[in-house]
Amino acid sequence: MITIDTISKKYGKTEVLNVENIEIPKGQSFGLVGNNGAGKTTLFNILLDLIRPTTGLITNNNIVVSQSEDWKNFTGSFIDESFLIGYLTAEEYFEFIGDLRGMNKADVQKFLGQFSDFFNDEIIGKKKYLRDLSKGNQKKAGIVAALMGNPEVVILDEPFANLDPTTQIRLKQIIKNLTENKEVTVLVSSHDLTHVTEVCERIVVLDKGMVVKDIQRSEETLKELELYFSV
């Protein structure tokens, strides 16, 4: 589904990302881990054509992301709070994204209905602008918006950060459900090794912009990762 081909990014002389080749098949749940500055967000930004790579290409469903915009139709993403429109209420924001993704008001209502547990009554009907919600609640809204319009690819940067334990567990369930039928490809980055190993079948470790590990999940994965990071 997604092919990352010799992607590198340089700012002046410092190279922040240098990825040889990663092939992500359709329906895979792909986890990206690494310490601060490893290049996780940069890679996702390049994947979303928000930053231009210095070299290399990324193709999403055979579409080169920097050459055509057609990948946007089947790709949902949430990188950070700047993806939210602060002066809208959550409902208005969902309506806006729904409009862009070809959903009418009833579709949006129905779609949001599935997430009433996840929202835990803190998002809908609050009469608050998104900018006035707490960080965790902003994240909830952003993640759900990324899932609108039946995307085939979902990209979430640090989705577990700032969420309360209950919501983390619910989010893990949501991600598992997404990839259950091998229809939706999910890319997740996280600092939390437990969460990633739980939801992702494949985990790539980045360090200073380079791929240092690329493992299929097994019983030992968590141990292996903990050992790697405990140096």
Partner: protein, 488 residues
């Protein structure tokens, strides 16, 4: 400790990306500041002699004194609208081992050296110096100056009390209203009283010490009030107001652009700065009154054209020049969504055109000034709709400055760069020049016709122009994402 604070201030000022970039705006701001300083200095130095020449039988100091009361009132109103207590930036300090009282003293002290307090001194100090040179009593002039400085500082602190406290505002308003009432109905000559007070200070400089007492009391009140408010949920944070959602489903008729139009309407109405822009555009409607009522401008039709453009163009100019920076906070998200960039631009265009047309309808009363003026406004409106709205969209592709929508609107230059100054040329100067050329050398109504024709031609070429503009925006996508991601 204070030196720490001062160092932080220094760094905050010089390290803001605003300062580090945009030479053009720096130069313009510096010139503007210099201009005001020079003007005030000139009035301060020359004021004495001008008054002496105009009113030879009166004492210039007494004339100034009799108007000082109005200066104080005007100053207070101006401050109430514009000046805010700088408390936001102490948030990171609250958890550090620094006494709260020290923080409060610091905030208050910082406020006393604000621009509002300095500007006036450029007039008062030279004026006092001239007084001394001209043979007024040195002690008297110094006492007078001292009293003025105390008064400015008192106004500074009084303003914060009024701003934070509705009761204080009520009391001040009642006092002001009654003073104006007394003066107006001739019951008591307040102006003369104000004059006498300052005259008395000149004769007996010791009276200026009363100002010290007033200032101390006001400072203390501020200190007490603020110290109670230095908590995250009080002064430091901003109030959250319950949302009032208006039904915007009428916009759905516009089809593909509807989501963006709805978004833009909410953008304008829910953010301070955009709301100011919106409301200001109605003030621009009155711009013509300044020009059309004066005989001098009747000889220079090009200047009348200038005013005519402003009457209907207030919204398009003020809103349009910052496209797409209004959406800078969530620009990344927009760029990862699937929509034609055209729709985004189209919605901004519709907004400008609708508002300009609306303002044009509101400008109908200008018929009172005659058909010529009204034709001019009409030509200006057509130019604004046809040419300016497209040109502003085009110029927007050069915008590289983030706008933080939560910051206040009035006098906020965030997002301003050289672009904003450059675009004025074609927007304003071109139609004026053309109008002047044709009006002067071809005559008849050719001036109006040319200006309106450019608008019509632009409107006819809209499709091609939009294609070109859209391409420009897409070309600049990465640079804009990068620039909008930076703190302003």
């Amino acid at each position: 400790m204070i030196s720490h604070f001062l160092k932080l201030e220094w760094k905050q000022f010089f390290r803001s990306s605003h300062w580090q970039k945009g030479i053009a705006i720096k130069i313009v701001m510096a010139f503007l500041a210099l201009y005001f300083i020079v003007v005030f200095l000139a009035i301060g130095v020359g004021g004495y002699f001008i008054l002496k020449k105009q009113f030879p039988e009166q004492d210039p100091l007494q004339i100034v004194n009799s108007y000082l009361l109005y200066a104080v009132l005007g100053d207070l109103i101006f401050r109430y609208l514009m000046q805010k207590l700088p408390v936001m930036n102490i948030k990171p300090m609250l958890i550090l081992p620094i006494k709260k009282s020290k923080l409060v003293h610091y905030v208050l002290a910082k406020s006393s050296i604000s621009f509002f307090n300095i500007l006036g001194l450029f007039f008062y100090i030279p004026f006092a110096v001239v007084l001394m040179i001209e043979g007024y009593a040195i002690s008297g002039a110094l006492g007078w100056l001292f009293a003025i400085i105390l008064m400015i500082q008192s106004a500074n602190f009084l303003n914060f009390l009024i701003n934070k406290n509705t009761i204080a505002l009520g009391v001040i308003s009642v006092v002001l209203a009654s003073l104006i009432g007394l003066q107006n109905f001739g019951i008591y000559d307040v102006t003369a009283l104000g004059g006498q007070v300052f005259d008395a200070i000149y004769t007996n400089p010791i009276y200026s010490l009363i100002g010290v007492v007033v200032l101390a009391v006001l400072y203390n009140l501020n200190f007490k009030q603020l110290k109670n408010l230095v908590y995250l949920d009080e002064a430091v944070s901003q109030k959250v107001v319950a949302v009032k959602s208006a039904d915007l489903s009428f916009a759905n008729k516009l089809g593909d652009v509807a989501p963006f139009i709805k978004n833009d309407i909410r953008l304008i109405w829910r953010n301070k700065r955009t709301k100011t822009v919106f409301l200001m555009s109605f003030l621009f409607l009155f711009y013509g009154l300044i020009f059309f009522t004066q005989e001098t401008y009747k000889e220079i039709p090009a200047m009348l054209m200038f005013a005519s453009l402003f009457i209907t163009g207030g919204f398009a100019l003020n809103y349009g020049q910052f496209i797409p920076a209004w959406d800078s906070a969530h620009y990344k998200m927009l760029m990862s969504q699937s929509f034609k960039y055209r729709k985004f631009l189209e919605s901004k265009w519709i907004l400008m055109v609708v508002m300009t047309s609306f303002l044009y309808v509101l400008s109908f009363p200008y018929l009172y000034f005659g058909v010529d003026i009204f034709l001019m406004i009409t030509a200006g409106a057509i130019f604004n709709i046809g040419f300016n709205s497209l040109f502003l969209l085009f110029a927007g592709s050069f915008n590289r400055k983030k706008i933080d929508l939560n910051k206040s609107g009035f006098g906020n230059t965030q997002g301003t760069s050289a672009t904003q100054f450059l675009i004025i040329l074609p927007l304003m100067v071109l139609p004026m020049l053309l109008f002047w050329l044709f009006n002067e050398f071809v005559g008849a109504n050719s001036g109006y016709i040319v200006v309106a024709a450019i608008g019509v031609i632009s409107l006819l070429c809209k499709k091609y122009a939009m294609n070109f503009i859209e391409k420009k925006y897409i070309e600049n996508k990465y640079v804009m994402i990068n620039a909008f991601g930076k703190e302003a």
